[in-house]
Symmetry: C2
Subunit: 356 residues, 2 copies
């Protein structure tokens, strides 16, 4: 009988509530499939700052390194917003990406047809949108050298954006591999008319493309891509881009669907290891009220089953259970058109398990 170790990091705000439902779904999947998931909890973000004096305790790194995959809730909240950099929740997030080598962030932006009205875009523009942003996650301006010093015109601040060929190549390959299993169209996004790192990026993309003759590669400038996502989002299949551009474009793409409470993401290392989390944040304003939408976290479980544990059928079963619950008309407050009929976190989790 198979046994997987899953590191569970609920984090802050609504994190613990939504994670509870996700873990219950995972346990049920285990029973159905005859697999044991040993879930071990760790601290990250604000809760870790309060308890351990750091947003990413060594203990958590060790725990996640021993696991087969990681489930993360969300981090952050007003309590820690004024803290200095090393004591901020998101520093834990950046730290775990680097510590675990999670270089590939997979951010699908798709929507169930019953939620098309939640978008601010016209139904004919968004219905059927199904794209994935593949974002480089451990390089670029996020992790380059930073400087701060005094100069003749006051303080000076510097950030270095740096990429080497190997870093670019491995993320471009992830983009091609994903595109190959889909519509075989990859758009590489850069700012090659201005940035040296983008010129390297484009050169590597062109070279790697030779290994994927079945996938159509095109290049788009980042400003133009931001426009095209608004103008005609259905044109996209897979987008691959560097860290900073990916941060912006993946959030823009997510919001096009109008239901960010439904989207999940994977951050992958080389091999099959990955960290899975909902795209939405810790939503401190509704934390503890039992009204948060657990579906993005439940869908993160599905992504984990598929991408880290090779349990494709179980993944599809979880996703189908979620779609069935939506089709039956059940909604949490964030996606309800009539909020008076909205159901809570636990009830939503239960409905998904009933479907399973």
């Amino acid at each position: 009988k198979k046994n997987y170790r899953i590191a569970v990091l609920p984090g802050d705000g609504i994190g613990p509530e939504i994670m509870q439902e996700a873990v219950k779904v995972l346990t049920l999947v285990g029973e159905r499939e005859g697999v044991t998931f040993t879930c071990e909890e760790g601290r990250i973000g604000g809760i870790a700052i309060d308890t351990d004096g750091t947003p990413l305790p060594e203990e958590t790194i060790t725990l996640t390194k021993q696991a087969d995959a990681v489930l993360l809730g969300a981090v952050g909240g007003p309590k820690w917003d004024q803290n200095p950099g090393h004591l901020r929740p998101e520093t834990g997030l950046l730290g775990i990406r680097k510590a675990l080598g999670l270089f590939a962030n997979i951010r699908p932006a798709n929507m169930h047809s019953s939620l098309v009205d939640a978008s601010t875009l016209k139904p004919e523009v968004v219905s059927g949108v199904d794209l994935i942003v593949v974002r480089e996650l451990t390089g670029g301006i996020y992790f380059g050298e930073k400087k701060r010093y005094d100069g003749p015109n006051g303080e000076v601040a510097e950030d270095q954006c740096i990429y080497n060929e190997a870093e670019v190549e491995r993320i471009i390959r992830v983009g091609f591999d994903i595109a190959r299993k889909r519509q075989k169209r990859l758009v590489s996004v850069d700012k090659a008319n201005v940035l040296e790192s983008s010129r390297l990026w484009r050169k590597v993309a062109e070279r790697v493309a030779k290994d994927y003759p079945d996938v159509e590669l095109s290049h788009q400038l980042v400003d133009s891509c931001a426009m095209q996502l608004v103008r005609a989002p259905k044109q996209f299949d897979v987008i691959v881009t560097e860290n900073m551009f990916g941060d912006i474009l993946s959030d823009q793409a997510a919001m096009l669907t109008g239901s960010i409470g439904m989207l999940s993401s994977a951050s992958l290392a080389a091999g099959s290891f990955g960290l899975y989390e909902p795209v939405h944040g810790s939503a401190p304003d509704i934390a503890g009220k039992g009204i948060a939408n657990p579906l993005a976290t439940i869908l993160s479980v599905a992504m984990m089953l598929r991408l880290s544990l090779e349990m494709d059928e179980a993944a599809a079963a979880v996703e189908n259970a979620v779609w069935s619950v939506l089709e039956a008309g059940h909604r949490t407050g964030d996606i309800a058109s009539d909020r008076s009929k909205a159901i809570g976190t636990v009830e939503m989790g239960q409905l998904v398990r009933d479907e399973l």
Copy 2:
């Protein structure tokens, strides 16, 4: 009698066609107001590469420096797309920004109510959108040091993003000054949770805010701003941000309106000097066909009259003439719902002058 020298740089593609209509409007304004506009033409972009072997000839720099303001059409085209960096049309654009010290890019995104259907967003979401993106234009990662060298993991490419306090302060002040004349709400966009340059940016914004107690300042992270522009664009009055973020967000904001053929922009130096241009590109595919929309270039003339020449009333007259022509139902192909009724570039220009 007043005499202004205007440097006119038509550029490539549809540039010359649309500029011709804009200059005719300017001449008419001069006759009406008793002002002489001496328009002198210069080369920039592809046409300059072909003629002078550089996208920004010295002659053009001299011409523009002697002028009171600059009107630019558009640069670029497939002919020069494969050229090395120093022989690319957009290098001329970057060069003139630096040479003339055009540090403040003013990018309004607003829409005439009769064009609301052109947007891919729902009418209730976009109708009434009226925001301005103030983008820093001569600093940051665009003009920082670039490096390319070999390392143990293949080639390495570096871009430096650098800002000093004085550079940040002057653009933040432009943001506040503009907000003060509007709804008095300024959103400063950065990535202060990751970038050192953003932390300096935010600190300076906070300091300068003390001089503008009547303007409400808030901060938004760039990823979050990209989301909010999609979710609820009407929340924004003025956005101020650094060069790279401004490139992306101003294009995204422009596309929200759905009629990019209507938007113009200003790039200002200290004092009253500025360069004015349409937001759209050189559209090589329709160049020479006489069907391009000249309205964004005509509206650039209006911006020039207001921001560089203190001719507020004349500016308003030009804008009103454009709105009247739209209200009367006249459309070029790019904004027409029924393309068979679309009119051409010259006819559109004539209609605006008739209204004037």
